[in-house]
């Protein structure tokens, strides 16, 4: 009796798992029949990001410093009062074409100051930013601090296209169809309808509202669309300032490896020449 049990224990265990899964399957199916899944407003009315073409796209994408500087201006004038950029340093701006003096001035004039402790009194105060400082953190006591933008284009599906779509995707009114089908999904007071946002209602008011909200020094027309594009491009850079280096190094590495692997294949053939296998 025992040997038979030992021999069939695998079947018992196997059938046990299969049986429990069968029960689970019946549970899932009856659940599905009893309460078919309800469509939600988010599923039905959420939009995928619009198309956005940037020079940094693609396997060999490069940064367009002109555009990055325009994007920085939009960030500085529009976004910076609420959103910090705490992983980026002022000195990093040198990489997008600002001179050392310009970086110093930008840091010094930045309205949000660095916290600093008085070494004698021990009290906390503020000092001006230096090029070596990271962009200071913005705190919003009470209402919740808006997300940091340093990695925003890596932290959302769609990356820069998502940022661009969000900035240009506000709609004054919810679609009538949405309200007709989901009366409970009315945009709450203080929120704003934006079909590119995950739950359709975003607390941030439309940040880019009118043409020439910022003044570009390179003569580009500062339309809302252009500003949204530029700031998205800028946030691609902040998310990974080394991206262009990565692309260039990658090209050299892959070419080297292709040659090396070709040679390795040749060496392999010659070593095995005459040995049938």
């Amino acid at each position: 009796m025992l040997p038979l049990f030992m021999r069939s224990i695998k079947f018992i265990v196997g059938l046990g798992f299969v049986f429990v899964l069968f029960l689970a399957l019946i549970g899932t199916i009856t659940g599905l029949i009893k309460e078919p899944p309800q469509a939600t407003a988010e599923e039905e009315f959420h939009h995928h990001p619009k198309e956005l073409a940037l020079k940094s796209d693609g396997l060999l994408g490069k940064f367009d410093n002109q555009q990055l500087q325009r994007g920085f201006l939009v960030y500085e004038k529009v976004c910076a009062s609420c959103h910090s950029l705490s992983l980026v340093s002022f000195r990093d701006l040198r990489q997008i074409g600002y001179s050392e003096a310009e970086v110093k001035k930008i840091a010094k004039d930045w309205p949000m100051k660095q916290p600093a402790q008085d070494p004698k009194a021990g009290t906390w105060g503020e000092r001006d930013n230096l090029p070596s400082d990271r962009f200071p953190k913005v705190y919003y006591p009470g209402t919740g601090t808006p997300p940091d933008l340093s990695l925003m284009t890596k932290a959302r599906h769609g990356g820069p296209a998502y940022v661009y779509s969000l900035l240009t995707g506000y709609e004054e009114k919810q679609p009538a169809e949405l309200l007709a089908r989901f009366p409970g999904a009315k945009t709450p007071e203080g929120s704003h309808f934006n079909p590119y946002f995950a739950n359709l209602n975003i607390a941030m008011p439309p940040p880019l509202t009118s043409e020439n909200q910022v003044t570009y020094s390179d003569g580009t027309r500062a339309t809302v669309d252009q500003m949204a594009k530029d700031v998205s491009a800028f946030l691609v850079w902040t998310a990974e300032p080394t991206m262009q280096t990565r692309h260039q190094a990658g090209l050299a590495v892959v070419l080297f490896l292709l040659i090396a692997t070709g040679l390795a294949y040749g060496a392999y053939l010659t070593v095995w020449r005459g040995v049938k296998h």
């Binding site: 090396a260 040749g266 060496a267 010659t270």
Partner: protein, 194 residues
Amino acid sequence: MATLEDGVSPTQTVVPTGDVIENPRRRDYLKVAAVSFAGVGAAVTVLPLINSMNPSADVLAQSTTEIDVTAIEPGQAIKTSFRKQPLFVRNLTPAEIAAADAVPVSSLRDPQTLAQRTREGHGNWLITLGVCTHLGCVPLGAGEGENRGPFGGYFCPCHGSAYDTAGRIRQGPAPKNLEVPNYEFTSPTVVVVG
């Protein structure tokens, strides 16, 4: 997929060493080239690993240190920090300046005059790193009431190096004078070091 029978008839019996070679030279070149490429590749890969241990950009960018010297009375010194190293800022008294100038330069281990170690017009300000040139201890003498050693400057308690009022090595194992960093006075009372 891994079969490479070109040039070998299916009936041919082959010894494991596969000594059926028509062109030994080509074979050797290929092997040498492949191994060389592998070696170069490995060597180049090691570079970023080593380079990553060099000071990073945030360390290199550690900005200049700005010091307000208004509060330092003659005869006093303060200890502050520059690039994470201690920095001594000392306001020399006329007597200390005279003592330093009285020493014949040729008798020094590391011959330098006080004037070479200060900035013109600010000859009373001795600004040096607080790092003993022997083995890197912090010498005494900058703090209130600390032992200034036999020459009235700084004294390193680790191995007894004594510095004079110009921060020059006078006695003990240290080989060099205390290092004077790059600095400039942006106003009569503000020094920017670095």
